[in-house]
């Protein structure tokens, strides 16, 4: 693996009982790059992220994250990245500060550094004055900002963002990308993201890979993709490559659960 490659994936395949979610996928992400996976629902984006972040085991293929193998060096891989999941992974019953503190302890951030970093990061995402409020009182955008701050507490080399701007208003989205780009520029942090918003990918990513039915169809810079498909925007290029049919994703157990949760008066 070349020195400047931080994520190296070769022939990655993940099969669930009947379906092949990720089918012989290969790609590389360079250090300090902003790289995006673009694809319709059910294309295999989240599955790939879960494998890279040790949450799922691949059926076959070679992977390397920050010099480590997610299968055999889980702890080292886990220390290397921060992640913001598609849906919230905060504890609503704890305050913003407590969520940060929990993360810092889990990642063994030394006690004397903990306070300083948490303060710095909460100020960075403009949540310092709300630090003692319960997360359940936060809006979707605030939660997402808090998750980003939390993911950075242990100074990861790679930041994974799984559809970080889903359901956010344009102001918050803008704000959020500014943070991400600033981190990428100032700290040289590698960012791996997935998104449905093509203009956003076009604006902030160095390179993108278009994935559909578990396979990478094309990868390169946004300009290269537009040239190759002879289109004007990344969205047109995307549609040309992946087709116009609508993908159905069945309601996940999470959605069902959330409804029940509401009915039980929990949230």
């Amino acid at each position: 693996m070349a020195d400047n490659i931080i994520i190296d994936v070769n022939g990655l395949t993940k099969k669930f009982k009947k379906i092949t979610a990720v089918d012989n996928v290969s790609f590389q992400v360079k250090k300090g790059e902003i790289f995006a996976f673009l694809g319709p629902n059910g294309a295999g984006k989240t599955t790939t992220i879960k494998i890279l972040t040790t949450l799922l085991q691949p059926t076959s293929g070679r992977i390397n994250v920050n010099g480590f193998d997610p299968l055999h060096q889980q702890a080292d891989v886990r220390k290397s990245f921060g992640i913001v999941f598609q849906d919230s992974s905060l504890d609503d019953d704890l305050t913003a500060y407590e969520n940060m503190e929990f993360h810092a302890v889990f990642y063994s951030v030394p006690r004397d550094l903990r306070k300083k970093r948490i303060e710095y990061l909460l100020k960075f995402v403009d949540l310092w004055d709300r630090k003692d409020d319960f997360v359940k009182t936060f809006s979707g955008g605030m939660k997402r900002r808090l998750e980003i701050a939390r993911a950075l507490t242990h100074h990861p080399k790679i930041l994974f963002l799984d559809e970080p701007t889903l359901g956010l208003d344009p102001q918050t989205r803008n704000h959020l990308w500014e943070y991400v780009m600033k981190l990428n520029k100032d700290e040289g942090m590698t960012v791996f993201l997935t998104t449905h918003y093509m203009e956003e990918a076009d604006k902030i990513c160095d390179r993108v890979a278009i994935i559909d039915h578990g396979k990478i169809i094309k990868q390169g810079s946004s300009r290269e993709l537009k040239q190759a498909t002879n289109t004007k925007t990344l969205e047109q290029a995307f549609l040309k490559l992946t087709g116009y049919s609508i993908r159905d994703e069945s309601a996940s157990s999470t959605d069902i659960m959330r409804q029940q949760g509401k009915a039980w008066g929990r949230k």
């Binding site: 879960k50 972040t53 040790t54 949450l55 799922l56 889980q74 702890a75 080292d76 886990r78 220390k79 992640i83 999941f85 849906d87 919230s88 992974s89 905060l90 504890d91 609503d92 019953d93 704890l94 407590e98 503190e101 929990f102 993360h103 302890v105 889990f106 990642y107 063994s108 939390r150 157990s253 999470t254 069902i256 659960m257 959330r258 029940q260 949760g261 039980w264 929990r266 949230k267």
Partner: protein
């Protein structure tokens, strides 16, 4: 160590903050104490078994622990559905530690709940025969709590949604509670029931607790403590395994 502590602390904080939950989970044991203890008291007395509140209170304390422990264990489903579980599972911390922190936290909370029910039963007329045994009573409470928190975690690890709750209440919690000697003495029971109570771990927890608080016991207190501690350890090993198999 830090990870176990912060998981434990989280459980305590969540418990302490949900005042509504504390109160509602105390309502049921109090209802049982008052309705059964006072209502069936005269019958019990006539049958020649003495003061029913005195007999019943340790059983109801165990019941409060059973419910609280089971539910804090099974709340791993909530953690999964509301996403927080993912945050813990991608962290560089062994799953055994996460499970252990959760279980210790849940067991602590359940034990506290048991102590509160003990205090309430003192108000209703229960009296502790010898306070020197109180520390041992706490050990019993904690062992019962550990067993059921781990059982709850095991069940919670296998379910994806709330469907598990009614199942667990009707098919696990209620039978375990009613067939544990919490409500009636184990002497002179028909053989079938005896067999069931003897394989129910809660029976030994209740019996040991009753011995510590009132001086009355069915089995020897040594047997009680051995059984409940050993099953608690075994259940925690099973729980750790189930928890380590969770995929999100």
């Amino acid at each position: 160590m830090g990870a176990i502590y912060i998981m434990w602390l989280r459980q305590i904080k969540k418990y302490w903050r949900s005042k509504a939950r504390i109160i509602s989970s105390l309502a049921q044991p109090i209802l049982f104490l008052v309705a059964l203890g006072v209502g069936l008291g005269p019958v019990f007395q006539k049958a020649g078994d003495g003061n029913y509140i005195q007999f019943l209170a340790p059983g109801i304390i165990a019941m409060a622990i059973l419910f609280t422990a089971m539910f804090t264990g099974i709340e791993v489903i909530w953690d999964r559905q509301f996403g927080f579980l993912k945050e813990t599972l991608v962290a560089p911390v062994a799953r055994t530690k996460i499970m252990l922190g959760r279980t210790l936290g849940g067991a602590t909370v359940a034990t506290l709940q048991g102590v509160v029910v003990l205090l309430i039963s003192l108000l209703i007329g229960f009296h502790v025969s010898n306070w020197a045994y109180f520390p041992l009573a706490l050990v019993f409470m904690f062992a019962i709590a550990l067993f059921f928190t781990a059982l709850g975690t095991t069940i919670g690890s296998g379910f994806r949604d709330m469907q598990a709750f009614p199942l667990v209440i009707n098919f696990i919690i209620m039978p375990l509670f009613f067939l544990s000697g919490a409500l009636f003495p184990l002497n002179d029971l028909p053989g079938g029931i005896v067999a069931v109570t003897e394989v129910n771990p809660l029976t030994y927890g209740v019996d040991g607790l009753r011995y510590c608080l009132t001086g009355l016991g069915h089995f020897s207190v040594i047997a009680d403590i051995l059984v409940i501690v050993i099953v608690a350890i075994i259940m925690n090993v099973i729980g750790s395994y189930a928890f380590s198999k969770i995929q999100v």
